[in-house]
């Protein structure tokens, strides 16, 4: 059982506030991912939860008990560091048993718990090695094993995959997902990589400059970004965000003029002359003769499973379009594009304007 409540949590270094009042509840057994650009304060917040960083203001509650002033080891949380942070002079087994040894757990039980964790993580054959004699992936597994052995209330991960190569990153990501299923414990996972966030999370918390931009399931964030920041951050390739001005509006729909000149219709009433931003995901664009947005293809990327085309529509940014790999689009060709269903609309303040689902 582990529920975490963050109530108006703040952190300042001197006069500089880096965490600006975070309100968040993390439910029991939930896998929550903190995502955001680097420097936005994810690690700081995680370390405040861990107890490694003092809390400047607000309350942190674990299972309803305020723990602001409880030392890290008494909070019952385990942390996995990006640098692995293994004890270099101890064997894998000793690394994993260290917390139990400090807690005075008898040797027999220590060994048994290390064995179980080692089996789960396929570390059985490595128990007598020193960290220096392990690969990066193995070190990361030991770091995770060290956390598991403690049977913590919740796991905290700080960018645990950043130091691994691409292939290993995917593999370890899957292992972490499996681990969450097996252990059924609360996990908080920090990353700057939105793909890791999308694949692992029950719920994603998007951070920017020390505050929360949006909280939601991966699909909620994907389909209904609350603002321009989230729209641009979640999804790959990035959502097309095109500046536009309202030309005319009747009761139910408005006609916009996109940057670059193409006309565009949205199913909502807007004020004439209002400046908005239209968001269309590259995978939600169809090439069709009826399309109102016309653009000239400038770059084509063949990825094998799909093809990405970048078309100039007259504005500063090219329109990114995801096409099937069989597409025969040619460089220099002028095409007509239309959104398929989902287009998002943001007001001048960058907040989403609700559109009727269609």
């Amino acid at each position: 059982m582990c529920t975490l409540e963050l109530k108006n949590l703040r952190k300042a270094y001197g006069n500089i506030e880096v965490i600006k009042g975070i309100d968040l509840t993390i439910n029991d057994r939930e896998f929550v991912v903190f995502v955001g650009p680097s420097g936005c304060g994810k690690s700081t917040l995680l370390r405040m939860i861990a107890g490694l960083e003092e809390i400047t203001g607000g309350d942190l509650l674990i299972d309803g008990v305020r723990v602001n002033d409880v030392p890290p080891d008494k909070r019952g949380l385990a942390m996995v560091f990006q640098s692995y942070a293994l004890y270099p002079h101890m064997t894998v087994a000793d690394n994993m048993a260290f917390a139990l040894r400090l807690a005075g757990v008898p040797k027999a039980e220590r060994d048994a718990r290390v064995q179980v964790a080692a089996k789960t993580l396929q570390l059985d054959a490595l128990l007598d090695r020193k960290p220096a004699n392990l690969s990066g992936g193995q070190r990361q597994r030991v770091a995770i094993g060290r956390a598991i052995v403690r049977q913590p209330k919740a796991f905290l991960f700080d960018e645990p995959l950043s130091n691994l190569d691409a292939a290993l990153r995917v593999q370890t990501r899957i292992e972490i997902a499996k681990l969450h299923n097996d252990l059924q414990s609360t996990m908080i996972y920090v990353t700057h990589d939105q793909i890791e966030a999308m694949t692992l999370a029950d719920r994603i918390v998007v951070f920017n400059a020390g505050h929360i931009e949006q909280v939601g399931t991966p699909l909620e964030l994907y389909h209904n970004p609350a603002n321009l920041f989230v729209a641009g951050f979640i999804g790959s390739p990035k959502m097309n965000l095109i500046g536009a001005e309202v030309e005319s509006s009747n009761g139910q729909s408005s006609t916009l003029r996109l940057e670059g000149g193409s006309p565009f219709t949205v199913p909502t009433a807007l004020g004439q002359g209002e400046k908005v931003t239209v968001g269309i995901r590259p995978e939600h664009i169809a090439v069709t003769d009826q399309g109102t947005i016309s653009g000239r293809v400038e770059v084509i990327e063949h990825l094998g499973n799909e093809t990405i085309a970048y078309a100039s529509i007259g504005g500063a940014e090219p329109l990114t379009v995801k096409l099937p790999s069989a597409s025969t689009v040619q460089l220099g060709e002028t095409l007509h594009f239309a959104p398929r269903g989902h287009a998002a609309l943001f007001n001048q303040a960058g907040q989403a304007i609700a559109l009727p689902r269609g």
Partner: protein
């Protein structure tokens, strides 16, 4: 950066030149210790002569070599152990729990080494006198420890700084309090650094002459004070002085040579990555 053969040659010549330059006085001292007093002041200096052990016999006979040697060992080791006991927690706090005064504090500590020792001779002398520590091993241990402490703390601080903070934090998450962190994580990881700090402190204390000469008479006089007794009122006896000096530095030279790997490793720790 790759050096050309010519560059390598120049570097080698410079290196050997510097080494010889530093070694020359020591070699000359040892050589002189085997000369008669007449030969020792011969001009031009003699390279070929009949060696004699008479100086050594004289020095050991005249002075209390064993007593001075014992004092040197007790004082340098004592000052080092005490210095580490105080220096390790201090450096630990400064490296891992710095606040905005830490940097200033460290500079202030170092600045005490920039002042000539003679500047505080009177107060220290009087303090030792009033507390009955003049010419005692304890008194010299205390003074020696205090004079080396800034260097001990600075060295330990750099070694501790080399240890990744994540490892310390991981141990905090694992339930290690300050003492357990020191014992189980910090000391094993900084072991080589602590060892070379200790070695340097022993060597510095061994060769320290100012306080030894000024604060001791007979009971606690270490080897440096022992040497000084041979530049006595009757005038300088170069050969005997050389013999005494050779006897005084021989133990620490052997000690330094035996531990040189450790010393070099520790002193270049962090400098080469």
């Amino acid at each position: 950066m790759r050096a050309s053969p010519l560059q390598k040659l120049i570097i080698a010549i410079l290196g050997w030149g510097a080494a010889l330059l530093m070694f020359f006085p020591v070699a000359w001292m040892v050589l002189t210790s085997f000369k008669t007093e007449i030969n020792a002041i011969h001009s031009p200096p003699l390279l070929i002569f009949h060696p004699t052990l008479a100086n050594y016999g004289h020095v050991i006979h005249l002075g209390d070599y064993i007593g001075a040697l014992t004092n040197s060992v007790v004082i340098s080791v004592g000052a080092t152990i005490l210095g580490l006991i105080i220096g390790i927690p201090a450096a630990y706090a400064m490296a891992f729990f710095p606040n905005r005064w830490t940097k200033d504090l460290m500079l202030w500590m170092l600045s005490t080494k920039m002042m000539p020792a003679v500047g505080v001779l009177m107060p220290i002398y009087l303090l030792c006198q009033r507390s009955g520590l003049l010419d005692t091993q304890t008194g010299l241990i205390l003074v020696m420890m205090l004079s080396n402490l800034p260097i001990i703390v600075w060295m330990l601080y750099t070694f501790f700084k080399e240890i990744p903070g994540d490892i310390i934090e991981a141990s905090r998450m694992d339930g290690a309090g300050p003492l357990a962190q020191l014992r189980v994580v910090l000391l094993p990881l900084a072991g080589p650094g602590i060892a070379s700090t200790a070695l340097l402190s022993i060597i510095l204390s061994w060769n320290e002459a100012f306080w030894s000469i000024n604060l001791t008479a007979t009971n606690a006089a270490p080897l440096t004070a022992f040497i000084a007794t041979f530049s006595a009122p009757e005038g300088l006896f170069w050969a005997k002085l050389s013999a005494a000096s050779t006897l005084a530095v021989a133990p620490i030279l052997i000690f330094g040579w035996a531990t040189q790997r450790q010393l070099v490793r520790g002193l270049t720790f962090g400098a080469v990555k």
